[in-house]
């Protein structure tokens, strides 16, 4: 006969009792309140002075479509430029060379220190400073080179690089010092160890904030409307200057922004999973 593990013969045996699930009364109350508020909001917009048929009509208008394409590719191009500059700047900032460190810190200071809309205006009006650009005998008028598109790309991309460099630097700092030493011990130079060992591990830390920055960039492109870059907000404004359907066209632009951002979020999750290799599942 085995010894009983407890001596609590006087306590009731609860092994046969029914398990009652926890009731979340507060949640149901909150859902009810939110539903009422949303219904009120929907009604306000439905009976408000919005001609919804204009939203439908202009949603896929050619000018809006062109603006959408411009918004998307400018976001990608400016972000690519920002990532390239950011990685380079972070590597310079982490280098043992004080000159490179100083250049990196100066760049970050300058471009984080001024509003991006001001930077866009400066690039666009570069012709006021340098009427011509070129090398040696070859030169062009700056106004011909510095199109709204190029000004937007430079303004948004270079500004983004300053922010991205700090994100990349945080990622590099998150990698254990032992990884740098192990890379050195198998004969790797600094650049090779960064490329093969440190940056792939830093990506896991870098991607969530970078996804955030990319979503920010999609919306930041709207600032380029002030320098006549034909992105989606600029396209919407051009239409409402003509037909005065201000709110309807702003709603068109808003819906498109929401669609782009909604597509980006799952893409970010896929990337995160890709760089979580070796960490025992996605975290």
């Amino acid at each position: 006969m085995t010894q009983p593990t407890t001596t609590s013969a006087a306590l009731p045996d609860v092994s046969g009792y029914r398990l009652v699930p926890e009731r979340h009364w507060g949640r149901w109350a909150a859902v009810a309140i939110i539903a009422v508020l949303l219904a009120g909001l929907a009604r306000a917009f439905a009976v408000g002075d919005i001609e919804w048929n204009y939203v439908g009509e202009f949603f896929t208008a050619p000018a809006i479509m062109q603006g959408l394409v411009n918004t998307i590719w400018m976001s990608i191009a400016a972000m690519a430029l920002g990532i390239a500059l950011g990685v380079g700047t972070a590597i310079m900032r982490m280098s043992p060379n004080p000159v490179l460190q100083g250049v990196a810190m100066g760049y970050t200071w300058l471009f984080r220190g001024t509003p991006v809309i001001l930077q866009l205006l400066l690039w666009f009006n570069l012709a006021l400073v340098f009427p011509t650009v070129g090398f040696g005998d070859w030169s062009m008028r700056t106004v011909d080179v510095m199109t709204p598109m190029l000004a937007a790309l430079l303004g948004l991309g270079i500004n983004q690089g300053a922010y991205t460099s700090e994100v990349v630097r945080a990622g590099m700092l998150s990698v254990d010092i032992g990884q740098y030493e192990a890379a050195k011990s198998i004969g790797m130079t600094r650049m090779k160890s960064l490329r093969r060992i440190v940056l792939p591990q830093a990506m896991r830390v870098i991607i969530p904030p970078l996804g955030n920055e990319f979503i920010g960039m999609v919306k930041l492109t709207s600032l380029a409307s002030v320098i006549q870059f034909a992105e989606i907000l600029h396209a919407s404004q051009n239409i409402y200057y003509a037909n005065s359907r201000v709110i309807e066209l702003l709603i068109v632009a808003a819906i498109w922004y929401l669609i782009i951002v909604s597509i980006l979020t799952p893409l970010q999750m896929l990337l995160e999973r890709r760089f979580a290799r070796g960490t025992g599942g996605s975290r």
């Binding site: 990884q179 192990a182 198998i186 790797m188 591990q201 070796g278 960490t279």
Partner: protein, 256 residues
Amino acid sequence: MSNAPLVSIVKVEKHFGSFHALKSVSLDVHAGEVLCIIGASGSGKTTLLRCINQLVQPDGGAIWVDGDLTGHRIQGHSLHPLSEAEIARQRLSTGMVFQRFNLFPHMTALENIIEGPVQVLGRPRRECEAEARALLERVGLAHKADAYPANLSGGQQQRVAIARALAMKPKLMLFDEPTSALDPELVGEVLAVMKELARSGMTMIVVTHELGFAREVADRVVFMDHGSIVESGTAAEVLGSPRETRTQAFLSAVLS
């Protein structure tokens, strides 16, 4: 001695701020020799080991590995610092095993081992993979080739780390307290791999607290204290009948 030592450490000095980590340390290690360095933490033994493969650059003195002065090039009667790439090339003659394993977590065991041969030596991947599988077999982990470090035990990770260092075909292996971060039941499997390596004729410098290992495997044992070599001799001499009172004090503290 007829042949020159593989490692020649001559009056090496190292300061970390006001801390004098190495005080005029001199030591020769010959090819095929297994040298164990023992001593309390802070005695400078790990710093000495890291100076040999230039993870730490000494402030004074000289270290010669395989006939090359480390860290500097001799021109006439002056020493010129080597470039980063030249230092990386010098490191190829030494392999290092770390206390905390330092495997690359984003690579499988096999990828960890072929990383150096493929990326640094530029050798064909297929050939390196075959060699890596042979090395995994040698450390008893042939079945773990595709496992990531996170899915290996500490002892298995350290054995992969030894294989990764061996894949570069070094002339000298440095071990920095290779079993200190391991659970007690995993120490044996790592020491067994190291014993096999010692028997195969590899030159090894081992910083360790495993006195049993030192007694069994070491050709020579060096005791360090406060940045200096206090006593050096065979394992029987240094561990069995130490002459210096500081060695006696250390051993009685460790063994009690």
